[in-house]
């Protein structure tokens, strides 16, 4: 039986939802699948709130739940299909939710980035989302994934090499300078 949820903790969890959705989007690709993942993580967090230690970082704990559920689902899918690896990006086009007006070039570039990340091996996808997108330190990512810092670094380096190479090949920038690309944004 889990403990009743403190309202402050609940409010903190609600405030985390945009970040959890972003993280899940990077892992799952499609928006609906990502939100399903976040919903499952929320439900698990509520059910197992007694496993979170007050005073420790709630965001890290919830990110771990998201990644654990995602990895479990990926493993289960592999067993079901008998495949070595399922590429979510091939199964479902990443849905792009775009607010506001952006230059088409930026859209295409970001689209390419999302596609590249969606096609990375899952262990690389996790580290690039945790470090480059969520801004975690190598140590935080290592703690979160339960692997040595050196492993985080090698996976991250491979992921970023793939990103650079793929973007160069798609002609989506070689690589386009971020500030140049966004010059008309503000």
């Amino acid at each position: 039986m889990s403990q009743p949820l403190d309202e402050r903790v609940r409010a903190e969890m609600v405030a985390l939802l945009p970040r959890l959705r972003r993280f899940a989007r990077g892992l799952a690709g499609a928006a609906d699948q990502a939100d399903d993942l976040v919903q499952a993580a929320c439900e698990r967090a509520i059910a197992r709130i007694d496993q979170w230690t007050p005073g420790t970082r709630l965001d890290s704990w919830m990110f771990r739940i998201v990644q654990t559920i995602w990895l479990d689902e990926r493993r289960a899918a592999k067993v079901r299909t008998g495949e070595g690896r399922i590429d979510a990006a091939e199964a479902a086009e990443p849905e792009l939710s775009v607010n506001g007006i952006r230059q088409m070039e930026a859209h295409l570039t970001y689209d390419a980035v999302r596609r590249v990340i969606a096609k990375l091996p899952e262990e690389q996808r996790l580290v690039i989302m945790l470090v480059c997108v969520e801004g975690q330190t190598y140590k935080e990512a290592a703690d979160s994934l339960g692997i040595p810092i050196g492993t985080v670094m090698s996976r991250l380096a491979r992921a970023r090499t793939s990103l650079t190479k793929a973007l160069g090949e798609t002609g989506s920038g070689n690589i386009i300078r971020f500030d140049e690309r966004k010059s008309g944004d503000a």
């Binding site: 949820l5 309202e7 609940r10 409010a11 969890m13 609600v14 939802l17 945009p18 970040r19 959705r21 972003r22 989007r25 990077g26 939100d35 976040v38 919903q39 929320c42 439900e43 967090a45 509520i46 939710s97 775009v98 607010n99 506001g100 930026a106 570039t109 970001y110 689209d111 980035v113 999302r114 990340i117 690039i128 989302m129 470090v131 480059c132 997108v133 801004g135 330190t137 190598y138 140590k139 935080e140 670094m153 090698s154 991250l156 380096a157 970023r160 090499t161 990103l163 650079t164 973007l167 920038g173 690589i175 386009i176 300078r177 971020f178 500030d179 966004k182 010059s183 944004d185 503000a186």
Partner: protein, 290 residues
Amino acid sequence: MSRVDDVMLMAYVDGEMDAATAREIETALAGDPALMLRVQQLRDGAMMARGAFAEVLHEPVPERLIAALGGPAASAKADTGKVRGDNVVPLKRSTSWLPRRSAIGWAAAASVAALVIGYGAGEMRPQFGFGDLGLGGGLQNASSNRWLDNVAAYYHVYQNSLANKDKLLVDFTASDVPELEKWFGAKLNRKLEVPNLTSKGLTTQGGRLVIINDKPAAQFLYSSDKGELVELVIAFTDQPYQPEQITRKGDVNIVHWRDNGYAYAFAGNMDASRLQAIADSVWRDLERAS
């Protein structure tokens, strides 16, 4: 040092190296265009990865997710009926900006800032004795948080002073900018141009001397006619390059980065994507001027 490999360059770009090793990398970079290109690619890749998912933060959060947390969804609703990721608290509009005051010395300005921060310590948790701006691992995070806490605190000092029409607040007008650039340039040991953000809808409101890491730092303030209030803080740092990151402190979004011995924070009560777009422009202007 031995040959610089891709993993080392990546750690350098991510700000994960100690200062001494980072300096060795910088030395190696200076004579190697190929390495410099690779560093640029790594920086760009990280920024693009972050940018590719930035919009998710500003999408309405489906109510089913709030419901999954078992909370009263209504309490978290924004005007649209859905939770937004960029729920920045709007700035309390002041009916008028401060009267022009340029006679108060800049040293006095530092005292004013320190005084107000000390007075508000209980509410804002600002901290003096800042420590370094980055040490690696958890320490780096804690220290980075302290620096950003102070950036947010200085922001609130100005915001509160504005709301209270504090007569001690120092400001300057456009005509003071050349003198200000010269004065701050000398304090910060660099050529400095106060970024002009008029094209972004932001008008320069003032500048103050603040203290970060026991060293002088510059704080420039801007506002828009939509009630946006923005600050740019430039401080010394002995830490290596760090790409742009976005951190939220209370009602303030902060885009912060380190480059070439300086730590920068661009903070405001506006949507993170707009703030980041303007920060990119600021970074470019500062690079060009230095």
